[in-house]
Symmetry: C2
Subunit: 307 residues, 2 copies
Amino acid sequence: MVTAPVMPLAGNPLHRAGNERRDPAWLGDALAGERARFLPVLRLKVPVTAGPDSAANHRLAWARRGDWMEEAGDPILLGLDGDDPRFAVDVSGCPEPAAERFGLGTGVEFQGLRTAAPSLPVGDAAIATQARSLLGWHERHPFCAVCGGETTVRNGGGSRSCTACAAEHFPRTDPVVIVVVSRGGRALLGRSGRFPGNLYSALAGFMEPGESVEEAVRREVGEEAGIRVGEVRYLFSQPWPFPGSLMLGCLAEGLSDEIAVDPEEIEDARWFTRNEIVEALAGRSEVLSVPQPIAIAHHLIRAWLAA
Amino acid sequence: MVTAPVMPLAGNPLHRAGNERRDPAWLGDALAGERARFLPVLRLKVPVTAGPDSAANHRLAWARRGDWMEEAGDPILLGLDGDDPRFAVDVSGCPEPAAERFGLGTGVEFQGLRTAAPSLPVGDAAIATQARSLLGWHERHPFCAVCGGETTVRNGGGSRSCTACAAEHFPRTDPVVIVVVSRGGRALLGRSGRFPGNLYSALAGFMEPGESVEEAVRREVGEEAGIRVGEVRYLFSQPWPFPGSLMLGCLAEGLSDEIAVDPEEIEDARWFTRNEIVEALAGRSEVLSVPQPIAIAHHLIRAWLAA
């Protein structure tokens, strides 16, 4: 049995304390204790200790409890670092949302996760991924979809509860299939109109109700590029917190050649040769660039080359 | 490349028309045309032509347009059967929700999907799965989680749109990991307090924000049974419309022996030998029964035996 490699943004070292967090007394102690640390998140940006020297010195910056919390959102439990509770806190509503205000010291700046992640240690990037997903979900769910009532945080952010109808709502994770289709030694890649330069990537799309991963791959490739797909093989997965996806990475076998792009979904799709992709990965190509290593697509393209 | 087998409830033969449905004119024609057919769904039960003879005669029962639709919910496009549009319609609010009222003829009864699926052809069970997931989601989302405003159906049920803040909401699919853990020739199975008799199944749990499939497997097995997990291998997936899950079926390698059950999550977990599982699958065991073939757990257990 060969396990999947750990993708960037995965590899979270925290123990999520899924059982403990349902105990209000435990949660109260965790929050009030001396060892609690808080990640202030400002409009979904995370505080990063950007060392003066190399990128390798970057770390997430954790705050201690302080009066700044009176103006911040509810602390959302991320989990335990050993015995030490770690929380994320939305500080977007604070009047002075500067690093100093939260006692984070100098040299700390708020960075978007796409910017911050490549310079952070694996575990810190994964914690930031979890924090961004969770806070983003809470921010987008102040009301109950069942009755329209107001919702409040429950179980340290593990869910939200409706104050009117008592419905409980859990954080949402949207499964997305992402796939490199292979046929006759070439790989199918596509580009959205939003992509810069000559960037092409693996085809991807949200899963729909009532389909399997394998069916979703066939449907998406058919809709976007008009290519029929046979065998589908799952390789690895990645949490993608923009805002809350689970990327299910696959390789698949193409059964037809002629591409028919749906212009509402993508701008172009093409078959690329091994050599074109090798050159693109090496940054030597003038006709093709491929996604950076933060994206699962990068690793799927490498896996296709190695297959 | 070996593809995953098709699980029960997957294998939907309809073309979902994901591009076409965004065109209001196309949708209007599809709805008004002579070839449109409608699946009346009554409190999430589907109409089944229960043949007088064998189970093999069962089929979904499709209605034609009629004045009954004035009292029913918005038609939700399932897709195209060849060129013929197929819709699901919630008839729970109709004053006379009987099969005859919808022109379905005699011998049609509304059945829950767990009851109906084993007697339906693969494609019909999959269409019923899609219909149940979609209608259930629409039923639970009349309001906007962002602002509390009312939402209305869009794109033939492909999404809902908020009448107040214009936020667009898409059907939700919750990824769930489900796993048979293997160690020393034995398999780890667990039971919930709700399970009848001596039924044990694969351990399972909802994925959380910011984790990969492989991490979710390790977390769930740790939380529920206290077993450490090494390698994780994805095998196959299944849509599970109760109410809207995507089951991601895995085998995994156990790294420890001693089970510590979390009583809030499950009632018991045990290591079972190959022979115990063979006997259970054959229906000959007095100490163990395993899930029926409609559940992905059944197929994971068989895959573990074959591995």
